[in-house]
Symmetry: D3
Subunit: 158 residues, 6 copies
């Protein structure tokens, strides 16, 4: 029977014990989108054209947040990531800013939560920089796209 992680038999919380898992290369890719008004998208595009910092700030926020994942998500294992890449794409036609994060490590647990945290905080940072002009923005479709390494094997979202 399938069971939630991080719980003992009585449903009480504990961290999964990964002491017996062997270390292996692990990678995860996550995505999410910030939806906003066309005028707001335009402001971000103008900023990018003018060599502005908006996209850079969001990328760095995502990278730094991924390193804080185990401080934020209570039952996450601390681990030393070997790389974090955050890509941010302005999609004018769909009026969204897309965020994609790729995280790798060599360790006993996966890095899905690190990738998802990077996406979430990069998206929040975009929100923060645009909130004065557009309070209707929303962040959607934060999801795992790919996962490699570890016993549970490969995952690719269709």
């Amino acid at each position: 029977m399938k069971e939630l992680s991080h719980l003992d038999k009585e449903g009480k919380v504990r961290m999964v014990d990964v002491s017996e898992k062997s270390s292996s290369k692990r990678e995860a890719v996550a995505r999410g989108s910030v939806h906003m008004k066309p005028e707001t998208i335009q402001l971000i595009m103008d900023n990018a054209i003018a060599k502005g910092d908006v996209i850079s700030v969001a990328k760095i926020a995502g990278i730094m947040a991924a390193k804080k994942t185990s401080e934020l998500v209570p039952l996450c294992h601390p681990l030393n990531v070997t790389t974090i890449v955050v890509e941010i794409t302005v999609e004018e036609a769909r009026s969204v800013v897309d965020v994609e994060a790729t995280v790798k490590t060599f360790g006993q647990t996966g890095v899905e939560m690190e990738a998802l945290t990077a996406v979430s905080v990069a998206a929040l940072t975009i929100y923060d920089m645009c909130k004065a002009v557009d309070k209707e923005m929303f962040i959607s479709d934060i999801m795992l796209m790919e996962k490699r390494g570890g016993k549970s094997g490969e995952f690719n979202r269709k």
Copy 2:
């Protein structure tokens, strides 16, 4: 003309200077949803019935994350919140877990980012506890619902 926050005239990043703003009571309410399979929803409901910890862990993660907002979002001002409430509701019919956060402060800047951060991290924590059984989950509709206090006045999402 409307402009992005936290940028100087050349589009370069700086924190908004709130030195001249007067302190006032401020409040923000944000929401978001974790979408999952009906079987996963059922596991969370079973855990709640069994006095399990799943909902509690997510609530506390949200509360603690709200206090870290200015560490996560690069241009956010640090502030001392006066309360953070995180409500988590399992919506069996829609197959989602809804998260709502309310944050208050007395200060020179608003607490939208704190409320949105609480929602995001509570949602990530639910994701973390369910990811072993459901990798297709996604987090959507993270948005500001209400905002009170400060010069820009009240906001209520329709």
Copy 3:
């Protein structure tokens, strides 16, 4: 009827809402003791005589931990302390190291938890420096001694 803090009517967690409380000067004093073998006490005293760093390290650890209280204790309100003093006394006769912390602030909530956190972490730091020679040590009697300011008035442990 007396009730636990940080809980709603259903016993679910939330931070106490201090939005309506007025700011005032607040102060708290807490204490605790690290019990150890006479030989271990002697090593700490020798270190102090030799201008060693053991006591200093523990004091600074306590001071820095007090500033992290709201990151550690989930429902604590963040606040800006105005002073933290940690006193450490080696009591050779009782074979203990006593720790006392005094914390002050001007704000809407008290600083008991800050004082208790300072004591706890200073005690853990002494433990850490002595653990190679004395694994039987224990930390006891961490308690609030005095509290001033705020609506609940003054407290003095008898």
Copy 4:
């Protein structure tokens, strides 16, 4: 001759150099107790019966604090724990809440300080939730119970 850890020959502070130690499985168990009035114990028990969050909050606080140990205790080595379990038991007869933490890792240093930190912060969190009704509480007998792995061998408190 026995010597304090983390000190050079002049008694000055430095982190122990574990560069030459080999990695091995390590485990530590620590304990502590929060003493309180019978009425306060009763409130915690009532909360637990009502599926309240008090025990959960303290457990999560302990787990999250264990991950912060090297940030709190100045000379502790950072390490990646493989599990943290915090058990909290209400002992009505003795009028105490007992906290026990078990921490494991695979690494070059032990996890005693992580287990002791988990216990200390879980105890402080219980204190925080009860302090409005019982200012006389105290935290005692924070101690190492068991330790396995590493060159210094096994320790079991009698």
Copy 5:
């Protein structure tokens, strides 16, 4: 007689007690320089021309570090800054990158350490991005330029 801060009469450490100081507007400006080879300067300039992120990353690192000052400098008071501006200028002729930080707050203590921390960490970040090509770099002349507000009055470095 002039005396060091944060020390009691015996030279032992304590945080300065600012409980009795009144809150006022405060501002500090600090500066520092990263010295490097002309080839390294050229690479940074090329990156800037290509709309690269080097300067942005360093600025954001400085801003985020200023918010962490009281976590880094043991006796610093926590405070809520109202703005942080970090300016980075590439000085080709002198073969240096200059960093200047301006920090403001409304509070009981000054923000010199926040400004100096912003400069230091922005400089370290530039170092980090250039270290693969230039190990001879050095960071110099980190200093306070201006200070306003508070009882000790205005300071302007000549």
Copy 6:
């Protein structure tokens, strides 16, 4: 052609991917100096003679900051250091306080940034304790002295 670290081909930021690098013993030594007035140097020397805490506080600040390096420098990889030693020397003749930090690890990346961060924050801490008596102080010559381990080989500043 030599290239800046942490950048992709378009000059955009990403963490270097060290997934394929093998772990090895790594060590780095960094240095820096705080320049001050002779009277200020005298106060520090008097404090040291009186078994005061000034030097201890700065050492501990440096050690603790080294453990935070990857939180401060955005593109630094998190790693578990195996030792950090901070030496502080008062040079009366030159009217400076010299700081030297040695950091070791076993891992996939070097520890230059950890050593430089330790030096920077120890220097800032000295500044903080002396700033009431000497606002003209400055921190200079923060630089890497030695580096061992890893593919890029040994570095010794001449």
